[in-house]
C-alpha cells in the first residue's frame, strides 16, 4: 500500500517520468480499485487546497483589519529560523493562523458568551432556524451543526445563525472553526452579536493562537472602562503579558 500510495502522490502531482506515467495509466485502465484510489486522492487534495485558501483568506482579512485599525499585525513565532527577506520586502510583523490543540483553562471560567436558548420570547430567532434550535435543545449537536452549516450557505447574512454555529463549534471542541465563525460575525458588525463574538474571539485566541484581530479587539475594549467586558479583557491582557 505504501509504495502504491507514493506512486499515486507522484502521479497526481504530475511528478512522474513520462514512461512511468504511461505505465501507471495503463494500470489504472486495468484496475478499477486503483482508479478509485486516484480519484479519492484528488478529491482530498482539492479539499485540503480549499482549506488552505480559506485560512489564507482569513489571514489576509486579519491583515486588512489590522491596517484599518492602524495596528501592525503581531505573531508568536513557533519556528525560529532566521529570515533572509530582501530589504524592500521585509514586513514588520507576522500573523499566525495555525490550529493549536484545545485547552480548558480559561474557557472553564465561564466567560464565554453562549447563546441562551431558554428565552421565552418567541421571536428571538427567525422561525426558519427553529429546527436547528430544536436539535440543540435535544442535545443533538452534530445534527445542529449540519443544519446550521447548510443554512448559512443560503443565508450567510443571518448573524444569529452564524453565531449559533460558532457556539456549537465551541461546545464540540472545534476551536479553529469557532474562531472562524466569530470572525465572520465580527466582520459583519452585527448589532446583536458583535460584542459577544468579540469577547469569545479574545478568549479563544488567548488559548489557541493570538493574532492581530484579537490584539485590535483587546485594545479597543480597554479604551472604555465602563464596558461590561472591561474587567474580563483586563484579565486577558494580564494573561497575555505573562506569556
Amino acid at each position: 500500500m505504501s509504495e502504491q500510495f507514493n506512486k499515486i502522490e507522484l502521479y497526481v502531482a504530475g511528478s512522474m517520468a513520462k514512461e512511468e506515467r504511461v505505465l501507471f495509466e495503463k494500470l489504472m485502465d486495468e484496475d478499477p480499485n486503483l482508479r478509485n484510489e486516484v480519484e479519492q486522492y484528488r478529491i482530498i487534495q482539492e479539499a485540503l487546497e480549499q482549506e488552505v485558501e480559506k485560512d489564507l483568506r482569513i489571514h489576509l482579512n486579519a491583515l486588512m483589519h489590522a491596517d484599518k485599525h492602524k495596528s501592525p499585525p503581531r505573531v508568536i513565532p513557533i519556528w525560529r529560523r532566521p529570515l533572509s527577506i530582501a530589504a524592500a520586502l521585509i514586513s514588520l510583523a507576522v500573523v499566525t493562523y495555525l490550529l493549536i490543540p484545545r485547552s480548558d483553562s480559561f474557557l472553564a471560567s465561564n466567560h464565554i458568551e453562549h447563546v441562551d436558548y431558554s428565552s421565552t420570547r418567541g421571536d428571538q430567532f427567525d422561525s426558519e432556524i427553529n429546527d436547528g434550535i430544536q436539535f440543540i435543545k435535544e442535545g443533538k449537536n452534530s445534527e445542529a451543526i449540519d443544519f446550521f452549516s447548510d443554512y448559512i450557505t443560503r443565508n450567510e447574512d443571518n448573524m444569529s445563525a452564524q453565531f449559533i454555529l460558532g457556539d456549537l463549534f465551541i461546545k464540540t471542541n472545534n476551536i479553529s472553526a469557532a474562531l472562524k465563525q466569530m470572525a465572520i460575525v465580527i466582520d459583519a458588525n452585527s448589532f446583536l452579536w458583535n460584542e459577544k463574538a468579540q469577547i469569545n474571539y479574545l478568549i479563544l485566541a488567548l488559548e489557541h493562537g493570538w493574532d492581530s484581530r484579537a490584539q485590535s479587539i483587546m485594545e479597543d475594549r480597554l479604551k472604555n472602562n465602563d464596558h461590561p467586558h472591561y474587567e474580563i479583557v483586563k484579565k486577558i491582557e494580564q494573561q497575555r503579558k505573562k506569556k
Partner: protein, 184 residues
C-alpha cells in the same frame, strides 16, 4: 520564500501584502478599469491567494519578479470579473435573464462543491485535519512536528501518511459523497 512553506511563506505573504506601492498599483488598476475600492481589495486578496497556490504547485518558476507576477494575476482576475459583468449587461432581455440564471446556477454549483469538499475533511479528527492542512500549505515536517506537539519530523511524516490513509478509507466508505462531487 513562499516556496519554502511554513512561516517563511507567511512572512513573504505579509511582506507582499504590506508592500504599499504594489498594493496601490494593483488597486489603482482595478479602479481605473471600472471597479470600486471594495472590488479592488477583493482582487488583491484573490491575486495573493492565486500567487500562493501557483508557487506551492511550482507553476511560477521565477521568470519574472514576484511583484510583476502578482500584478499579472490580479489584472487577469479583474479582466475575468469584468467580462462576467459585461455579459450581464447585454441589451437583449431574454439573453440577460438566461445569463443571469446561468451565472446563478454556476454559483450554486460552485457553492455545493465547496460544501461537499468541506465535508470530506470532517471525516477525520481535528489533529489529522491540522497535520494534513499544514502539509498542504507546504510546512516542513519539522514545523508540523513542533506545531502538533509531535516528537520528531519523522513522526510527523508517519502521521501525515497515517492521516491521509485514514481519510482515503473513510472517503471510500462514502460513495454518495464521491458521486455528489462527480455531479458538481
Amino acid at each position: 520564500m513562499i516556496s519554502k512553506g511554513g512561516h517563511a511563506r507567511l512572512n513573504a505573504i505579509n511582506a507582499i501584502y504590506t508592500n504599499l506601492e504594489l498594493s496601490k498599483k494593483i488597486k489603482n488598476h482595478v479602479v481605473r478599469k471600472g471597479g470600486d475600492a471594495a472590488e479592488a481589495q477583493d482582487v488583491f486578496h484573490d491575486g495573493i491567494i492565486a500567487l500562493d497556490r501557483n508557487i506551492r504547485e511550482q507553476k511560477f518558476k521565477g521568470q519574472t519578479s514576484i511583484e510583476g507576477y502578482l500584478f499579472s494575476i490580479c489584472r487577469n482576475v479583474w479582466n475575468n470579473r469584468w467580462r462576467q459583468r459585461s455579459k450581464m449587461s447585454n441589451n437583449e432581455i431574454q439573453d440577460y435573464q438566461l445569463k443571469t440564471s446561468q451565472s446563478s446556477d454556476d454559483n450554486i454549483i460552485q457553492e455545493q462543491r465547496k460544501e461537499h469538499l468541506s465535508t470530506v475533511l470532517q471525516l477525520i479528527d481535528e489533529k489529522c485535519q491540522k497535520i494534513l492542512t499544514l502539509w498542504k500549505a507546504s510546512y516542513s515536517m519539522e514545523e508540523i512536528a513542533i506545531t502538533c506537539n509531535l516528537s520528531s519530523a519523522q513522526l510527523a511524516k508517519k502521521y501525515r501518511f497515517r492521516c491521509m490513509n485514514k481519510l482515503m478509507k473513510k472517503l471510500a466508505d462514502r460513495p454518495n459523497l464521491i458521486q455528489a462531487l462527480r455531479n458538481v
